[in-house]
C-alpha cells in the first residue's frame, strides 16, 4: 500500500488540517514510512481472534438517566475564541 500526493491531500482534508500544496509530497513520504512500519502486522496470524474492545474486562457502568449538571452558560463560554449573546460564534454555515 503506497500513499500518493492525492491520497495525502484527501487525508489532510478528512482530518481538517490545511496542508500547503508544496508539503503534500513530503507528507505522503512520511505516511509511507509509518505505514511501512505498521505493515508488519500483516505477518501475524489473527484468525479467530476477536478485536480488543476493552483492555480491562468490565461491563460499562450505567447511571440513572437524570440531569446531574448544567446552568453554567458563563463557564461553558468562558474559553471560547468568539462568544456572543450566550452563544459560540462561528463563520456563516448556511447560505
Amino acid at each position: 500500500m503506497s500513499i500518493d500526493k492525492e491520497t495525502a491531500r484527501k487525508v489532510a482534508h478528512l482530518a481538517r488540517i490545511a496542508v500547503p500544496e508544496d508539503r503534500l509530497d513530503g507528507l505522503a513520504g512520511e505516511f509511507n514510512a509509518i505505514l511501512g512500519f505498521i505493515e508488519q502486522l500483516q505477518e501475524v496470524d489473527v484468525d479467530g481472534v476477536e478485536p480488543m474492545v476493552s483492555v480491562t474486562p468490565m461491563r460499562l457502568k450505567r447511571r440513572e438517566d437524570v440531569v446531574t449538571d448544567g446552568s453554567q452558560q458563563d463557564a461553558v463560554l468562558a474559553n471560547a475564541p468568539d462568544a456572543r449573546e450566550g452563544f459560540f460564534a462561528v463563520p456563516k454555515v448556511v447560505e
Binding site: I3, T7, V11, A12, H13, L14, A15, R16, I17, A18, V19, L27, E30, F31, A33, I34, L35, F37, I38, E39, Q40, L41, Q42, E43, V44, V46, V49, E50, P51, M52, V53, S54, V55, T56, M58, L60, K61, R63, Q72, A75, V76, A78, N79, A80, P81, D82, F88, V90, P91, K92, V93
Partner: protein, 492 residues
Amino acid sequence: MTLTDLTIAEARDALRAGETTALALTEAHLEAVEAAGALNAFVHHTPEIARDQAKHADERIRRGDAPNMCGIPIGVKDLFCTKGVASQAGSKILDGFKPEYESTITDKLFTSGAVMLGKLNMDEFAMGSSNETSTYGNAVNPWRAGNSDAALTPGGSSGGSAAAVAARLCLGALGTDTGGSIRQPAAFTGITGIKPTYGRCSRWGIVAFASSLDQAGPMTRSVRDAAIFLEAMAGHDPKDSTSAELAVPDFEAMLTGDIRGQVIGIPKEYRMDDMPEEIDQLWQKGIDMLRDAGAEIRDISLPHTKYALPAYYVIAPAEASSNLARYDGVRFGHRAKLSQGDGITEMYEKTRAEGFGDEVQRRVMVGTYVLSAGFYDAYYNRARKVRALIKKDFEDVFADGIDAILTPATPSSAFELGANFSPIEMYLNDVFTVTVNLAGLPGIAVPTGQDRRGLPMGLQLIGKPWEEGALLNVASCLEERAGFVARPEKWW
C-alpha cells in the same frame, strides 16, 4: 536538613513531627524553581496558589488532620486540567485555555493537602519521547554526560515532570503514560515512575490522547514515595466510566521488602540484537539483585512483543484523531485569523494547521487514514486483534506462576536534544514500555545504574493487573540493592 533533598516520606514525617512547615517546604521549592529556568521544566508558575495551599496544609497538620500528601510540594504535568490555571497539553492550539474545572486527580491531591508549584513541560498532547514537540520549547535534562555540556533530553512525554523531580524542584510530579511517557523519562533522569493498571486512576480532566491507553501516575525519587503518591491519586471516579470500582490498598504498607519465593520472568523477546552492552549488563545485574532478594528467576516468552509498536502506532493515532477532533477553534483555545469569504471548513483547517505541531498533525492524519473507509479492517481491526494477542501473552505467563517481569526500561540512556531522529527511530524509545499499555498492566521504572558517561539507566518491572502494591514491593527490593544515590551536579 536541606528541604529540597527530602523524599516525600521524609517530608511527611518532618511535617508531622513539627520539624518544618509546609510553607517553609514550599518556599524552598519555589526558590529552586525560580533558579532553574534553564531546565524549562515549569512552564506555568503558581506561587500564590502554592503559598495559599501550604498555609492551609499547615493548619491541618497543626490540627492533626494531615493525610500523607498534606503540605507536599508537587508539580503537575500540563496535560491535567487545573481550574483557573493554564492547561495547554504543551500545544499552541490550547493557548490561553484556563479550565473552569479541576481534574479528578488534582482535585483528590489538593483535597488531601498537596501543594501545586506549577505546571510542567511535556511533548505536545503527550506525543513524543524527547519533549521536543512542546510549544514551550524543550525541557532539559539536569544530567549531563561526563564532561560534556551538551543539552540532553529528559525524555518524553513527561519530560518536564522528570527534569523537575530529578533537579529537586519538587518532591514529586504528576505524569501520564500512553506508551511509556512516565517510565522512559524516569529512566532518563534517574528517578522512579509508575504507570498503574488501566482504570486505577481517573482520567477525568486529563486532556485525552489515546483513551484506551492513557493512565496517570506519579514520578518520585523513591519507590516508597511512588507508593504514597499513587495511593493519593487512585480510586474509583463516577465521572470516568473506565475507572475501576476497586478499593485502593495501603500501598506503602505493602513495602515489606520480602519477595522470597516470588517468581520473576525474564522475557527473551526483550533481548534486542542492537541493544547497547551497558543496558544488557544492567538487566543482568537486576536479575542478580532480585535473585539475591530471594526471588526465583525464570526465562519466559512473550511471543508477540515485536508487534507491539506497530499495533500501538495504529491504535494510538486512531484514538488521537478522534479525541483531537474537538480542537476546532470554536469552544476553547486558538482560532486562526480568517480571510474574507472563509467559511467554517476553512476555519477548522487553518486553526488546526496553525495550532497543531508537525508530530501531532502527522499522528492525527495517520489515525484518520487507518480509520477511513476501506482501511479500517486492514489496519485498525487487525491492530486490535494483535493487541488482544499481546495481552494474552502476559495472561499466559501470569497463569504459569510468574509474579512480575523484569526488563530494561529503555533501549538507551538519555540522548542529545536536536539529535534529529526520524519519527520511526523516535518511536523505538518505547519498545520495552508500550506492551504494558497495550495490555493495561502496571509497570514501574526504577533507577538501577549509570552508564560509562555517568548517565542514569533504569529497569522496568511489570506486574499483574491491580497488583501495584506487590509490584512496588518488588521494585523496592531492586531499589534497595541497586543503591542508586547519584544525582545530577547543579549547572543550571
